[in-house]
């Protein structure tokens, strides 16, 4: 797994690549939180374009970042979610949190 970051004004884009499961989610989480805590961006964009597999740990990852961002007034958006990932997000009702 790897995460690379891009910053555009008040937006932090995290480009995720690899597979997300309970094991790797911890590494993704630490990496994203470290950067987001430092920059406190108005918008955190999670780019799933490089994710080849994700179980529900990925949903936990999104929900956790959403809560963290909301705590300091920021928001989270998920982009480039493959159809499989969107299916799971809808199962979780994450579409209703307006992150997709």
């Amino acid at each position: 797994m790897s995460v690379t970051f891009e910053r555009k004004s008040d937006t932090l884009i995290a480009l995720l690549s690899g597979e997300i499961d309970h094991h790797t989610a911890a590494e993704f989480r630490e990496s994203i939180d470290r950067e987001a805590e430092m920059l406190r961006p108005g918008l955190l964009v999670l780019d799933f374009g490089g994710i080849g597999f994700m179980d529900s740990s990925g949903i936990g990852l999104i929900m956790g970042r959403y809560k963290n961002a909301a705590a300091y007034g920021g928001s989270v958006r998920v982009i480039n979610a493959p159809p499989m990932i969107e299916r799971m997000m809808k199962l979780a009702g994450i579409g209703r949190l307006d992150v997709l």
């Binding site: 499961d21 597999f53 179980d55 529900s56 936990g60 499989m84 799971m88 199962l91």
Partner: protein
């Protein structure tokens, strides 16, 4: 009538989280002989990943135990997979199967059983507190017919 499996596999692993990837990949490699679509294969991999994660996060929380995975394939294209642990067991299986219910902390979505149910055709959960849990899943892989000539 109970049909006979045409092939089967067994995998026994310790509940290290690094084995989540190994477990789903091993079952996916086994089911490849059914010639599944990528989507069917991903469905099964996701369901296995959820079942194994439950063993690690819940059944053997803060400990390392053994996980038994068995898969059988049948002539009609079905694959049946069981994931068994001898961990703490689930006091209320119906509650545990509700979407968004979790005892796994704020980073867990509580979707494990919902995903297993949605991504396979049949899900059965048998659990006894203090004895362990066995999750059995079944999925039918669409048979594609060969056009020769």
């Amino acid at each position: 009538m109970k049909s006979k499996a045409k092939n089967e596999m067994k995998l026994v692993i310790p509940s290290n989280s690094a084995n989540e990837s190994f477990a789903r990949t091993a079952v996916a490699a086994f089911m490849a002989q059914l010639d599944p679509t990528i989507e069917e294969m991903t469905d099964v991999k996701t369901a296995i990943s959820e079942a194994v994660t439950n063993c690690i996060v819940h059944a053997y929380r803060d400990t390392i135990g053994t996980i038994w995975i068995e898969a059988r394939i049948y002539d009609d294209g079905r694959i049946c997979i069981s994931v068994k642990d001898k961990g703490c067991g689930i006091p209320d299986v119906a509650k545990a199967r509700e979407p968004l219910f979790t005892t796994g902390g704020s980073e867990r979505a509580g979707l494990g059983f919902a995903v297993m149910e949605s991504f396979t055709d049949k899900l059965r959960v048998r659990s006894a507190v203090g004895k362990g849990t066995t999750v059995t899943m079944e999925k039918r892989i669409a048979q594609r017919y060969r056009h020769d000539g």
